[in-house]
């Protein structure tokens, strides 16, 4: 299974482009983790952080789509 951080990067890349890596690191840090140590158990908390961060720059529908994309990954 691909690490959660990779899935997160893939889901965010179309929207955040070159800022994706910094955003993923920041999201992981907000959960007290490093990006590469994120795992499936972090997903619920990560979704909350993702929603809080992205809602400032993206429509609610876009954030829902990104989260759905993240959940749908194997």
């Amino acid at each position: 299974m691909a690490p959660l951080a990779d899935d997160l990067r893939s889901a965010l890349q179309p929207y955040l482009g070159a800022a994706t890596a910094a955003c993923v690191q920041s999201l992981a840090a907000s959960l007290g983790r490093s990006a590469d140590s994120l795992d499936a158990a972090d997903l619920p908390a990560l979704e909350g952080q993702l929603r809080a961060s992205l809602s400032a720059v993206a429509a609610a529908g876009t954030v829902d789509t990104i989260i759905e994309d993240l959940r749908s990954r194997p």
């Binding site: 893939s10 955040l16 482009g17 800022a19 920041s26 809080a52 961060s53 720059v57 429509a59 994309d69």
Partner: protein, 271 residues
């Protein structure tokens, strides 16, 4: 499932109609019809496009959930555009219906004042919001502040001193003569530069796409405003001058930006 954003046909159509309108208006401005009455009426052709732009932006703004960040940002930009359109309608009404020169300072200036503030605040809010997704703000702030300071200083020395010390101008005319050039830098040029520097950090990231169009629009308006304030202070501005092309292009670009924001908010899914 993967998602991706495409620019919709609606956005391309808005850009195309805007481009055709700009071409038609440029033709009217550069080669006005010989009939003076027709020429005066056609000098306000741009107002229809600015009203249409305001409608597009407001429709996009209301497509977001009330209270969410994008709703507030685009509502402010829509308010600024609508306010400019109302100011232009008031100007055209005075000129075409009341058949007298639009007073300056006058009622339209109230709406133009609202325009600059609403656009500047809306775009700055959008730019600063990118801090939430870890886009660094320090370099954009430093560059914008440095350039704005240099421009304000240069403008103070070469333009504003002349306006303030001109004994032929009333207090209100002096106030406007100072306000417009400063507002161009503070509310139009500064936010345009700042958001470009911020969203350039995203590279090809689609959340930045709408703001490139908005920044280009503000830049067009900023140039037009600067020329307008010089012409207005010397009393030589007339509706239908090439200056109006910059405003029209600016608001069409804002409408394109709004439509792109709608496209980004509705990504396509591929499984």
């Amino acid at each position: 499932m993967t998602t991706y954003v495409v620019i919709s046909r609606r956005t391309w159509s808005i850009a195309l109609v805007g481009l055709i309108g700009l071409g038609a208006f440029a033709y009217v401005v550069l080669a006005p019809p010989s009939d003076a009455q027709a020429a005066r009426a056609l000098a306000y052709l741009d107002v229809f496009f600015i009203i249409a732009s305001a409608i597009v932006i407001m429709l996009v703004a209301t497509s977001f959930k009330p209270g969410e960040a994008l709703w507030r940002q685009w509502m402010l930009i829509g308010l600024g555009t609508a306010s400019f359109a109302i100011g232009d309608v008031a100007w055209a009404f005075t000129d075409l219906v009341l058949k007298r020169p639009a007073p300056s300072p006058g009622l339209p200036d109230v709406f133009y004042f609202i325009t600059t503030v609403a656009l500047g605040v809306g775009v700055m809010r959008a730019a600063i919001a990118f801090r939430r997704v870890s886009v660094t703000m320090r370099t954009p702030i430093v560059i914008t502040a440095a350039l704005m300071s240099a421009l304000v200083l240069g403008e103070s020395v070469f333009v504003l001193m002349g306006v303030v010390s001109d004994p032929a101008l009333s207090f209100a005319a002096k106030a406007l003569g100072v306000y417009y050039p400063l507002a161009d830098i503070v509310f139009l040029f500064g936010p345009a530069l700042f958001i470009v520097l911020v969203v350039s950090r995203l590279g090809r990231g689609s959340l930045g796409w709408p703001w490139w169009a908005v920044a280009a629009g503000l830049a067009c308006m900023s140039v037009s405003d600067l020329v307008f304030s010089a012409l207005q202070t010397s009393g030589s501005y007339l509706a239908g001058s090439p200056v109006d092309l910059g405003w029209m292009a600016g608001f069409v670009l804002l409408a394109c930006g709004a439509s792109i924001a709608h496209d980004v908010a509705h990504p396509l899914r591929h499984t």
